[in-house]
């Protein structure tokens, strides 16, 4: 381990993830993020904020990574929170078995479905997986009549050209989806990637200005897709309660 420009650098190839360094480092420069908890322990922790959820009309959102990568655990936690009357949401990319998704849908109050790329080739190129499963899951969810918010992350030069957007709009309409939220790319993760010594693949990619975003909104609106703008803003309590 040696010191880099903004903190310690860890040689990831040699690191065995024992995290002894984090125990010994007096300055707390290395931190082991995340803890191992069972479902009951996690729910106990989450319920500590119950009063705050009640006041704000909020609840618990499972985001990621991808929460459906741990389906059994997620279902167990959702079930316990449902028993406690806490509002839950899951944020998923949709790349999971229908079995997992439908079980989760039965236990949660809201599904935030992030649809990145509809085009098969593009999807394979940028996410490494086919979009077929993602789209078929989405279609089935729509027919289930669950509380569903479809969201489209926008990444400059990758999925925000007029062609991609019009195609996406057509596919959405075909599935009976009339309204989506946009999640414009931001680079807050860049500093975090640096901290864990990983390359940031989108280094230098600029964030969306209001004008950029307005262009996308107009293209989608013309193609018949309504934009729900509420989802573009998150309040500060997200950093506190999730």
């Amino acid at each position: 381990m040696k010191k880099g420009p903004s903190g310690p650098l860890v040689n990831q190839e040699l690191c065995g993830n024992c995290f002894l360094c984090s125990e010994f480092c007096p300055a707390g420069a290395v931190e082991k993020a995340g803890q191992t908890k069972n479902a009951l322990e996690l729910v106990t922790e989450l319920l500590k904020d119950r009063l705050v959820f009640e006041e704000s009309g909020g609840g618990v959102t499972f985001s990621g990574g991808e929460p459906l990568m741990q389906p059994e655990f997620l279902l167990e936690v959702l079930k316990l929170l449902k028993q406690e009357g806490v509002h839950t949401a899951i944020e998923t990319c949709g790349y999971t078995s229908w079995h997992n998704l439908v079980n989760a849908a039965a236990l949660t109050d809201l599904i935030l479905y992030d649809l990145k790329l509809i085009d098969e080739d593009q999807s394979k190129k940028y996410t490494g997986v086919s979009s077929k499963l993602i789209l078929s899951n989405l279609k089935k969810l729509v027919s289930l009549n669950v509380n569903l918010h479809v969201r489209m992350p926008l990444i400059k030069g990758i999925n925000d050209d007029i062609n991609s957007l019009e195609k996406a709009a057509a596919s959405l309409q075909e599935m009976g989806i009339e309204k989506i939220e946009l999640i414009p790319y931001h680079n807050f993760g860049e500093a975090k990637y640096e901290k864990i010594g990983r390359d940031y693949g989108l280094k230098g990619l600029s964030r969306y200005s209001d004008a950029d975003l307005q262009k996308v909104r107009i293209i989608l609106s013309k193609a018949g897709i309504m934009i729900n703008r509420e989802g573009e803003l998150n309040d500060y309590s997200r950093t506190g309660s999730h």
Binding site: A27, E55, H186, N187, F188, E190, A191, R238, G240
Partner: protein, 793 residues
């Protein structure tokens, strides 16, 4: 300093500019008038009569003024910001006056004439007679050692008890009505045959003299207004002067009949209280919106006033407060309260006497007024009840997020429960509120005196040094200064408990003597007119005449002591990473050459403010020990001792007398303030902060103070206001007493960029998303700094 013009009308702009641009100056007029009265009457009449004669002399003889364009009249000194001294309380030396005029902050202009009169007249008469000197003469050597070591401060060494607030009485009672009541009471007392009959008669006579004097003071203003009207060329102004004259003949002699009269009446009473003595926290109209609302409603209905005229009157009222800076403080009193602010803290909203929602259109008008005026004084707060609409918090939030520091936010249900716990009636509790910084009181009925700050962290330092204060090297606590050994953390806490009781005992023993000195030598017959039941009891405010009497000792540094104890518990007693002597040696050397130990203590310890029970339960233990050491002890004048948790600026002074502490704090650095976490260690967001803070049993206190920092963007837009409402409502549902939002500016963010350690808790809003400032890239940080500079104020 020339400030931007603020105010709804040209008149207000001019008056406000005068208030902002006039340099505070010392006036000896009051001191000379009081000295004259004492010279002729001291020892010849009883103390209440002596004080009443002094009050009469000032009200009849002091120079008065009517400033250009003003509608509400009366200044404490000869003009705006001319500030009197109170040699009967604190007789400044010539050196004091030099310091007061030359210091960089909180200075007052002192003319050569003032210095000469102080030298020739004031000092020769008052030397040895002032309360300050009497207090220090009468304190034990143990008390003096503790005072010098910075264990506690003493509120009454330069200023008088006060710490009380007006209720609605004056708005339906003229001074003439009070005089009639006094006469009736006198007739009763004359028939008594107790040993204190003549003292009681004197007290009532003194109160009557004060009531008459205030009426005379108002008449003098009426006469001056008439004089000015005679020569005034401008017809509008002439009419205003004649109206001023009419108002000053109506009040305070009679109850007010409209909003103008109500405001002028309060203002005369305010001047009376702060002229009679230099009371702590000046004085305050309390629930101003509720008191004025009936007048406002009637005036609007009668068509004699519209909303804009009401706004102008209120803005004139605001200027009046700002014209009276806190009289000059010196020494430790300046350190504990380093500000011109005199803590008039107006309450808005809350509930009415019958428990119903107290928010009205006047509440909203007042919120607009405070934001338009943006003056240091008076301070304002919103009293938030579950019965008030969210709109009330949102409107307050619109002002708060502008970042100039007002209003603060209080929990009505908590305040009421605190008062009920202390034995107040439900109606008195509902009509109470908070004053000063955060202090709970039954307005118009309670004397709730703050007696001094108490340095909790210093007690720990002395515990770890077996009774010796490392700074003065004196043995002031229990023990003999040998190396301490504790078998367990509980044993350490037990030792802390014993030391705590020892120091509280010294503090309260001193307080009792001081209280007796005030009760016997420095009655406040004018204030006694305003606070129930001094008249009915024929007993002075300073001798326990009020319906409720409470004494507070304010605990400081709960965050610092909690984190220090958490570090000791974890690293010495549980993990045994360090032995106690080893760690104490490192602290003694202020971590010199052992920065890694300091880093380890900071980063490997649970800190209060993160909703982590490890630290938070220690906070609860310390709180309980402090509560048990103080609460319920009787005071000299028949009141009860209680605790509250607030610092003003004392956490800086208290930190300056403490060496390095086990939480990694370096020697001399400030302690944590109020019940806020140690600066920069709360890393789990505002929800975690309020949850940690709410683990303290606020309802057992008479006030706690919690500060939360935000940048303006976090609170921007409707979403920002939603968040504010949720945070406030959540904290209050957990019985939190008070929360204030410190909206940071671009300069603070630049500081955070240079010194990230100290700002680990700073959350900024980026773009529809918030993150810790430290987590952002430098480029993004710069962007936020630019935006903040642009958006704030």
């Amino acid at each position: 300093m020339i400030t931007a013009e603020r105010g709804a009308t040209e008149r207000v702009k001019q008056l406000r500019a005068q208030s902002e641009n006039t340099v505070p100056e010392i006036s000896l007029e009051r001191a000379l008038l009081v000295t004259e009265v004492y010279r002729h009457n001291y020892g010849k009449v009883s103390p209440p009569l002596l004080r009443a004669l002094a009050f009469k002399q000032i009200m009849e003889k002091k120079s008065i003024c009517i400033n250009d364009g003003e509608l509400l009249v009366g200044e404490r000194g000869p003009g705006p910001l001319a500030t009197p001294t109170y040699p009967e309380l604190c007789c400044h030396s010539i050196d004091d006056l030099t310091v007061i005029s030359e210091r960089k902050k909180i200075s007052f202009k002192v003319s050569e004439e003032v210095k000469k009169a102080q030298q020739d007249v004031i000092i020769p008469y008052w030397k040895g007679l002032s309360m300050r000197e009497k207090i220090f003469e009468n304190m034990s050597s143990a008390w003096l050692d503790c005072y010098q070591a910075g264990l506690f401060t003493e509120f009454m060494e330069q200023r008088a008890p006060g710490h009380t607030v007006a209720d609605d009485k004056i708005y339906h009672t003229g001074m003439l009505d009070l005089i009639s009541k006094i006469k009736a009471k006198l007739a009763e007392v004359e028939k008594e045959d107790g040993p204190d009959r003549s003292a009681r008669e004197d007290q009532l006579q003194a109160m009557a003299i004060c009531a008459e004097s205030l009426i005379r003071f108002a008449e003098r203003h009426a006469e001056l207004a008439e004089e000015q009207a005679r020569v005034e060329k401008d017809r509008t102004r002439k009419a205003e002067l004649l109206e001023i004259s009419r108002v000053c003949r109506q009040v305070p002699a009679h109850a007010p009949g409209n909003m103008w009269e109500a405001l002028q009446y309060y203002w005369f009473v305010h001047l009376g209280v702060i002229t009679e003595l230099n009371t702590w926290d000046a004085f305050c109209p309390g629930r101003l919106d509720q008191h004025l609302e009936p007048f406002y409603r009637n005036d609007l209905a009668a068509g004699t006033l519209d909303r804009e005229q009401a706004r102008e009157l209120l803005q004139c009222f605001w200027v009046k407060f700002n014209n009276q800076p806190a009289p000059p403080k010196v020494g430790i009193t300046l350190k504990e309260s380093g500000t011109y602010t005199d803590f008039a803290n107006i309450n808005l909203g809350g509930v009415k006497a019958d428990g119903s929602d107290g928010v009205s259109d006047l509440t909203y008008l007042l919120l607009e007024v405070i934001d338009e005026m943006r003056l240091l004084q008076p301070s304002t707060n919103v009293q938030v009840s579950k019965k008030n609409p969210d709109l009330f918090i949102r409107k307050a939030g619109e002002v708060i997020r502008k970042g100039w520091g007002q209003p603060s936010v209080f929990n009505v249900e908590a305040v009421i429960q605190e008062l009920l716990t202390q034995g107040k009636s439900l109606v008195d509790a509902r009509c109470g509120g908070t004053s000063g910084c955060v202090e709970t009181g039954a307005f118009g009925k309670e004397s709730y005196i703050l007696t001094g700050y108490f340095n909790l962290t210093k007690v720990l330092e002395i515990t770890l040094n077996d009774g010796v204060d490392p700074a003065t090297e004196k043995l002031i606590g229990l023990g003999s200064g040998k190396e301490v050994q504790f078998d367990s953390f509980d044993q350490l806490l037990e030792s802390f408990r014993s030391q705590l009781h020892h120091f509280i005992e010294i503090k309260i023993t001193g307080n009792q003597v001081i209280e007796e000195l005030y009760a016997k030598n420095m009655p406040a017959p004018f204030l006694s007119l305003i606070i129930d039941d001094c008249l009915e009891n024929a007993r002075d405010y300073n001798a326990g005449g009020s319906r409720y009497n409470t004494n507070y000792i304010q605990g400081v540094g709960i965050g610092s002591i909690t984190d220090s104890l958490a570090a000791l518990k974890k690293h010495v007693f549980e993990d045994q990473k360090y032995t106690l002597p080893e760690l104490l040696a490192v602290l003694k050397n202020n971590f010199a050459g052992r920065e890694e130990v300091r880093q380890y203590l900071i980063h490997k310890t649970s800190h209060y403010g993160n909703d982590d029970d490890y630290a938070d339960l220690i906070m609860k233990q310390v709180f309980k020990l402090y509560y048990e050491a103080v609460n319920g002890r009787p005071s000299y004048r028949g009141g009860i001792y209680r605790i509250n948790m607030l610092p003003t600026t004392c956490h800086v002074y208290f930190g300056s007398v403490i060496g390095a502490t086990p939480d990694g704090r370096l020697s001399g650095m400030p302690l944590s303030e109020g019940i806020s976490p140690v600066q920069g260690v709360d890393l789990n967001g505002p929800t975690a902060v309020i949850k940690s803070a709410a683990k303290m049993d606020h309802l057992l206190t008479g006030g706690t103070l919690l500060n939360v920092k935000f940048t303006p963007q976090v609170l921007s837009g409707e979403k920002g206001l939603d968040s504010l409402v949720h945070l406030v409502r959540s904290y209050f549902r957990m019985d939190g007493h008070h929360i204030q939002f410190n909206v940071v500016d671009a300069e603070t963010l630049k500081g955070a960029q240079q010194n990230p350690e100290a700002y680990g808790n700073l959350i900024v809003r980026v773009a529809g998303y918030s993150d810790y400032f430290n987590n952002l890239s430098e480029q993004l940080q710069n962007e936020i700094i630019q935006r903040t500079a642009h958006e704030s104020l």
